[in-house]
Amino acid sequence: MGSLTMIQAINQALALAMERDARVMVLGEDVGRNGGVFRATDGLMDRFGRDRVVDTPLAESAIVGSAVGLAIGGMRPVAEIQFLGFIYEAMDQIGTQASRMRFRSHGRYHVPLVIRAPFGGGVRTPEIHSDSLEAIFAHIPGVKVVVPATPYQAKGLLLAAIEDPDPVLFLEPMRLYRSMREEVPDDWYEVALGQARLVQAGDHVTIVAWGPMVPVAQAAAGLVAGDGIVSEVIDLCTISPWDSSTVIESVRKTGRAVIVHEDQRQNGFGAEVAATIQEQAFLSLEAPVLRVTGYDTPFPVPMVEDLWLPDANRVADAVRQTVAY
């Protein structure tokens, strides 16, 4: 057991997976000698060699497309896309190749591939480095989308993703890489994909969040606690397939829901969550389901980034609004 940051937990998970299974390999830009631009793969090349920790040419479609072949050919590739905003270069290989190989081959082939990518704002990056694109991938049948929010979750979810027989997009919130430490077991453990996590229990309102918005939701819950509002905070952990039962059960209890995501509002994953709540918990609802999200603009320039991103105050306002409805 050690007190680790998320990036350390991810590094440890990759090392464990490579140690346990010789088929697991890491490939991407700068993942070898440099250990990744965030050091997620630090030390892996020295430990596991250049055949299994591969600095690829700078070509996202080649990284994912060849990883599809590697996976079908018997390897367990963990590909890194340096920043999620650059993943459009590999969109066909994800959206019509990795995702559909099982379907296209009517079950003969499958693609056990993990694509890791850092994303999200709060770290003052140049353009394109901060975009949240999880909803795009949640729309693609055949891929799974996982977004960890804590070091413990990150390690367990990543190990489960590597063990999963299907392609998994593993989206790592950049600003949580080193923002907190948590006790993380040294050994192998898995956190099941497709299951939400109850962050804190409450009776008055359900706040649903994932990835970088989980700490924001928790902070908002702290703010409204002063008004006597006890919030239930749920971390979805996996966006696709997502754990609607946990959310529905919670909303049936609280009668109110606020969904928080950093991604833009229009067609964001919050819309799916809200639609499902009204389909399945309509008679329990005491107020309209609210969303607190990024605005429907491109991710902004660093000088206004903090104003653009949903923060605890915006979430707390939405919570108060839904409780007062």
Partner: protein, 354 residues
């Protein structure tokens, strides 16, 4: 540099069926077997076209004219070598062992057509232009890492060489030195766009130079040139000497698909001239000239081919219909709760709702 001199077209049997090179690496029996395959595949392709016109199958992409390349390449492979082709490569798959009714099932809309039989190491036909080239690089890479002694072959057209995935694949394969053979079926047309609008380079083979890999240009309508070249290339690639790009110069005799009308864009003179070199009549002329094929042989092979094609049509038409429910089966290894509900609703014939 003059690329056309640097990458001369390898040819063993010319357009008239005359031997113009060394054919010592292919036996008479092998040649006659090739002939039988080419006849069967050509008859099949024409039948498929007619079946579409009769409304018995859906859209079909004919491969006529490209059989020598597809068959000659696959004939040089071992059983566990990988094949990654596009939608026009059913002749390659058929020669590799995929039953002939599969392309019909595919055009009828049966999901099972994507399930390549287990004894054949091939990916299902791929529709997005050039994407499969990267899969072949990955498969070859996996074989190298696992010391499997397998090679991967990928087929694609001249249009595919304009795609990023083609260039990314050649570069990555070159950097990683993986055992992959890139076979470009240069059939001169990407639907309606001729090769000279696809690129300004006189050859496709010369693109190998940019990636520091071997490039070979050959007559893709000459099955002897294809097969003999591939035999030596496969051996080199298998022994770890790095990837190879082959440009097989051929011609799409028919339309892009049954939904296309090439008379809208192909000049008749050029069409006529290109047709003269087509692979089936060329091989037949050679075999007849050399006394390896009699008129009786030709008739009986035609007859056998017809029976084979008839059987394929019967098998395809008797195949049980695909079901909506099975659509849910191979999205993930395991059905999610939501997909389970949607499947149940689809069976009831209604929409899924809360």
């Amino acid at each position: 540099m003059n690329p056309e001199q640097e990458f001369p077209i390898r040819r063993v049997i010319d357009e008239q069926g005359q031997l113009v090179g060394d054919r010592s690496q292919v036996s008479d029996a092998q040649l006659k077997d090739f002939y039988q395959w080419l006849v069967t595949l050509r008859q099949f392709d024409q039948r498929a076209w007619n079946l579409q016109r009769q409304g018995r199958i859906g859209t079909y992409p004919p491969y006529s004219g490209q059989e020598a390349t597809q068959v000659g390449v696959v004939a040089a492979l071992s059983h566990d070598d990988w094949i990654c082709g596009s939608y026009r490569d059913w002749a390659a798959l058929a020669y590799a062992g995929v039953p002939l009714h599969y392309p019909l099932l595919n055009s009828m809309g049966h999901a099972i057509a994507g399930h390549i039989p287990e004894q054949v190491q091939a990916l299902p036909v791929q529709v997005v232009i050039a994407a499969q080239i990267l899969h072949a690089v990955g498969l070859a890479w996996a074989a190298k890492l696992q010391e499997q002694n397998r090679v991967a072959v990928t087929f694609f057209g001249d249009g595919a060489t304009s795609q990023g995935d083609f260039h990314e694949a050649l570069n990555l394969a070159s950097v990683m030195q993986v055992p992959v053979i890139f076979v470009c079926e240069n059939n001169q047309w990407a639907i309606s766009v001729p090769l000279n609008r696809q690129m300004h380079s006189p050859t496709i083979a010369q693109r190998a130079l940019a990636y520091n890999i071997e490039g070979i240009r050959l007559d893709g309508n000459d099955i002897v040139a294809v097969y003999q070249t591939m035999r030596e290339v496969v051996e080199r690639v298998r022994s770890g000497q790095g990837p190879v790009l082959i440009e097989a110069v051929t011609y799409r005799l028919g339309a892009h698909t049954t939904a296309d009308d090439p008379t809208r864009y192909r000049p008749p003179e050029e069409d006529e001239q290109r047709r003269r070199g087509e692979p089936l009549s060329r091989l037949q002329n050679y075999l007849q000239r050399s006394g390896l094929l009699s008129q009786d042989d030709i008739s009986s092979i035609d007859e056998m081919a017809k029976e084979t094609v008839d059987e394929a049509v019967q098998t395809a038409e008797a195949y049980p219909a695909a079901s909506l429910a099975e659509t849910f089966e191979h999205v993930y290894g395991e059905l999610s709760e939501s997909l389970r509900e949607q499947r149940a609703a689809s069976v009831r014939g209604g929409a899924a709702h809360g």
